[in-house]
């Protein structure tokens, strides 16, 4: 009898499974929602490019069976900028984590949003640097204990949706890993959107972050998201910070506007300036 195949198997590098992610990790679900959204989107899969940085989420590029690139820490967006501008037909997706995209990669993140480069950024936020053992990061809530904040975190975290919106992103959404249907739908919207689109996924890291906050299993985190997740579409992203561990997590689609992309703007501007000379 023929072994059964899961509908997503064609988009996974089966020769690399099992993957490295821990039991209870949110990244697996993020990948499932992404693949699901991609298959429903009708995108030409040969033209989809998955770029990631360094970290647990960064390993996503290696497991998805599409043209993919695993770049240096923080540089996925810059690499993707070059890739997209060289071949505008590509659908460019950046899949990376909070530390990679917002700390070391912060500059590239805000500039790509500012330019409104046509790309979809999926940021898995698990509030720490998981791969290296759970160190404090730019989204770690105040007071949380981590490997490098053993007395508690004394820094105010970034509000990623606010940062993205303020920089110029045209689509900004956040979902916890619990809300898989809505997450899948948002990813689909982000993929279809022209311009810089961000989907932040709040995910557990039981091994290196959540268990120090007394959520020992992935299930504990899901209960947390269920209890504290509040859906508020269209709320001002300024008000969606996650400053305290265990506090409210506001989810939804916060920004969805139309704006010319970097390429649109360039084409238009150059046509006028060069007056048909090109």
């Amino acid at each position: 009898m023929e072994p059964e195949r899961h509908p997503m198997d064609d988009l996974l590098r089966e020769d690399r499974l099992p993957h490295i992610w821990c039991s209870g990790c949110g990244i697996g679900t993020a990948v499932t929602c992404f693949i699901s959204a991609l298959l429903k989107s009708g995108q030409d899969l040969d033209k989809v490019a998955v770029i990631s940085g360094i970290g647990c989420t960064g390993r996503v590029a290696g497991y998805i069976k599409l043209d993919s690139f695993h770049t240096t820490h923080g540089r996925a967006i810059a690499f993707a900028t070059g890739l997209k501008l060289a071949n505008p037909e590509l659908k460019v997706v950046i899949f990376s984590g909070d530390g990679d995209l917002i700390a070391i990669g912060g500059n590239h993140f805000i500039h790509a949003a500012r330019r409104n480069i046509d790309m979809t950024v999926i940021c898995v936020n698990n509030f720490n640097y998981g791969m290296t053992g759970g160190q404090v990061g730019p989204t770690t809530p105040v007071g949380a204990r981590t490997a490098t904040s053993p007395y508690g975190c004394f820094e105010h975290p970034f509000n990623i949706p606010y940062l993205a919106a303020a920089s110029g992103a045209v689509y900004v959404a956040r979902w916890t890993m619990l809300h898989v249907r809505r997450l899948e739908r948002s990813i689909g919207e982000a993929l279809a959107k022209r311009g810089f689109s961000l989907v932040e996924i709040i995910a557990p890291c039981p091994t290196n972050y959540d268990r120090w906050q007394k959520r020992r299993t992935g299930l504990d985190s899901l209960r947390y998201y269920h209890q504290k997740g509040i859906i508020q579409h269209g709320i001002n992203p300024r008000d969606v910070d996650i400053n305290v561990d265990g506090g409210e997590i506001i989810e939804g689609v916060f920004v969805n506007v139309e704006k010319p992309t970097f390429s649109d703007f360039c084409q238009e501007g150059l046509s006028k300036a060069m007056g048909g000379r090109e």
């Binding site: 040969d46 599409l66 043209d67 695993h70 810059a78 070059g82 060289a86 500039h111 000379r277």
Partner: protein
Amino acid sequence: MRQRGVLSGEFFMMGDIACAEGAISAGCRFFAGYPITPATEVAEHMSYRMPEVGGTYIQMEDELGSMAAILGASWGGVKAMTATSGPGFSLMMENLGLGIMTETPCVLVNVQRAGPSTGLPTLAAQGDMMQARWGTHGPYEIIALAPSSPQELFDLTIRAFNLSEKYRLPVLVMTDAEVGHMTEKVVIPPPEEIELCPRRLVTVPPGEYLPFKADGDLVPPMAVFGQGYRFHATGLTHDERGYPDTADDSAQWPLIQRLIDKIRVNKRDIIQLEEDNLQDAEVVVCSYGISARTALWPMELARKEGIKVGLLRLITVWPFPEERVRELARKVKAFVVPELNFGQVALEVERCAAGQAEVILVPHPGGNVHEPGKVLEALREAARK
């Protein structure tokens, strides 16, 4: 009337501009850069010319982004370049390593200025030569070319693109503020006379392709994004499928060996030298870039004094021409190495001379070219050996 592509003709052109035009003549259609003295003119000229030839200019937010963007553009199928100077060169090191590890064709131009750190932004030096060789972490081979004139900067930028496609790695053009900001005659030939090396693209169908399995000449054919190959590339140590293999050194050995061998085995093809008066030379000036040029007059004066001095000019600095230097070391009394640093290429000359000939460095911290008197004095000292 708008010109496109190759601007064939004779020009009185600044080095940096000649570099940009060389890139365009080689088919470069993507430039990502950042302003930095004395390389800014390359970016400015590219911002003007890229739209004219249907290419893209983007000014990235920093040099790290610029280097990452040119790798991305290359993987998108377009010949790509960036240009910088010392401080930016340092920032580009990490992604230079990514380019080497993923075998990404592209060109990085360093118009050197005096360092360390902010140094003398507007003045020439040659202090980044060892950094060019070893600046990014890990073991690897690199190709670095050193032009001595705006014409050569034009020609060698084209050669850099060709070598980068042929051997699938980033190639460095190591020039300096003197050559970059100097204005001289530059002849741009007609397009049919410019030899270009096309990208070595994959020929087998998807499913049969192993992205990092090399052909006989140690260079794997390349797939770019969007062709349906669904490949994976990573900066992690990887196997022939491109998949990370990091549990032990079993993938590291064959990968690193091949990345190194693909250059070493092909040294004869890669290395270019200019030789003059070496047949009966007792003293050899071994130099590169602007310092090779400013040594010419002291060499003339030395010959008038009866010193038999010849020139070995390194057009290719890396890989270093070990065999030629060893050969010469057996015949000559001494090498004189003028360079605008405190001994970088001179160390290689010493290593290869292996005590069979003296090596006299003519150092300079950068900020000016060598005083002819100092070079002449070194030639006299060499002759006395």
